[in-house]
Symmetry: C2
Subunit: 316 residues, 2 copies
């Protein structure tokens, strides 16, 4: 039961964290606004750290209310990583946490985003931005919602956007020479809808609309022609190797497991992720693109396109 | 204490109301999406009737909870309009409602919109749209928040957008011949931030970007040169005449008073609105435009620009 002074100093700490990471970082502000547009009427539209004006109002009572409502052993995940056996951990866990009372934690009610018909575009300019940036955010199923599609999207993400050998990089940076960087990122370890994010930074002389058209063209090509069997098998092998490398630390796998369980996945889904990847087919990847990344088929929750530029002219 | 069946049939009624007014009306859907973008993290981003998927889930318990929480005499406004005296009404009100228990209605906590840096643009196309439309929504103080500025905005709204003699209509429709219609509307009878909405419909051959530039040009002119004394006095006279005509019904004034009180205004502010208008100066109108409708000065909560078109090409 912490004293008021401790609450106030902790509040100051998180406010400074927000100032450093977000308020003084136009790209982070841009990301917040993209999320707010992509997740209308949904908690993912609110940044995890909170909006500044609401953080400033947080009181000791708010903190205690939150603690009393959610902090209970039946609402906790304990992950132990290291040179231990399950039996040892279970015995210790029972000893240390076994006495805590099971609490009646409320059901987690989630609002859902309503369908929208219009495309949402964010244009932001800031004097401290050095390089223009285009982002396109599409909503797509999470691991919990649709494990099979999520695995296909992991493969899709690797083929389209995983580093300098990926399709987007090869097309926009190496071949067309219109971008300094380009990629795609899929976030599926989340409870509700995940997100596929495409991004690109233009070379000087190139405008963001050119990059938008080039990104759209790559999506259309993927939807039309799919991926080759070689692309598929190489990608699965790369992702599996990555999963093995990820075991080379104590904190990494613990984080992975904790995050997966917290977002509704099973331990088996985490454990057999490398094997499950092998069931993904080229058709699965093409279908996922068709269903969730089609720039020409309006969806209930349309993508958000964001343009971040150094000059103010973009605010047109 | 209504039976379950009555709840279900009432729910069907509001769902059909929503279907008719909104779901099957692309312009209403467009308005919802504009509001959601303009009022991030604020209840005004949610339509009053509700999002369809949430309405479908409403239960008898939800209705009763809402009723028990908010329906109390200390949270009600009784407006009686007609050939009565205050004394008669008070006696009847005491007799009819006096026995109801005062309830402990909770404080109405309102979330606020966080500051955003980027401009928000909505582009929507729908096959049933006959005429393209551009809308620009700016947030501006409500009557409750800033009565003086709100009065200036009422005058501004009349001069800029009040019918075919207004500046926007005269400029875009009559002189430049680029629009079939153009106007501006200020909504100030609201608890939190109000809204100034500019809109225009192009003549064939004209695109929406031309109208956007023309609307911006009119705002810049207003900010730079203000309004003339003649415009001011004629507008005030027009608004006062409107207030007198508004008394020519029973329901109209009752609605006006109820709405004003419910949104935090005082009876005096309603009663003396025509006289208070006379204190608005040309400078007040120019300042309100400068502070709240400046397309060139980024604000914490930037305007939303929406483009509604018949064709799908606008989804670029």
């Amino acid at each position: 039961n912490p004293p008021e002074s401790e609450i106030l100093s902790e509040r100051q700490v998180i406010l400074e964290e927000r100032a450093q990471r977000t308020d003084n970082n136009p790209q982070a502000r841009f990301g917040e606004q993209m999320d707010a547009a992509l997740y209308t009427n949904h908690p993912y539209g609110t940044p995890v750290i909170g909006w500044r004006h609401e953080m400033e109002d947080l009181t000791r009572e708010d903190a205690m209310d939150f603690y009393n409502r959610w902090y209970a052993p039946n609402n906790a995940i304990l992950v132990v990583s290291g040179d231990v056996t399950g039996e040892e951990v279970l015995a210790l866990a029972q000893k240390i946490y076994g006495g805590l009372e099971v609490a009646d934690t409320p059901k987690r009610e989630r609002t859902l985003s309503p369908p929208m018909l219009g495309e949402n575009i964010i244009r932001m300019s800031h004097e401290t931005i050095r390089e223009p940036l285009i982002q396109m955010a599409y909503r797509a199923p999470s691991m919990r919602q649709d494990y099979k599609t999520a695995l296909a999207l992991e493969v899709l993400g690797d083929i389209m956007g995983g580093g300098s050998s990926s399709r987007l990089y090869q097309s926009l940076v190496v071949e067309q020479k219109i971008a300094a960087n380009a990629g795609l990122y899929y976030r599926g370890d989340i409870w509700d809808d995940g997100e596929v994010l495409l991004y690109a930074t233009p070379l000087p002389e190139q405008d963001l609309e050119t990059l938008r058209d080039a990104l759209h063209a790559e999506l259309r090509k993927l939807i039309r022609d799919g991926i080759s069997d070689t692309e598929l098998s190489e990608s699965i092998a790369r992702l599996q190797a990555g999963a093995i490398f990820a075991r080379d630390s104590l904190a990494g796998p613990a984080m992975l497991v904790g995050r997966a369980i917290a977002t509704g996945q099973s331990l088996d889904q985490v454990e057999y992720w490398p094997q499950n990847l092998e069931h993904v087919t080229a058709r699965d990847v093409q279908n996922a693109a068709k269903l969730y990344l089609n720039p020409d088929a309006p969806r209930d929750i349309p993508p958000v396109i964001g343009y971040l530029t150094p000059e103010t002219e973009a605010a047109q």
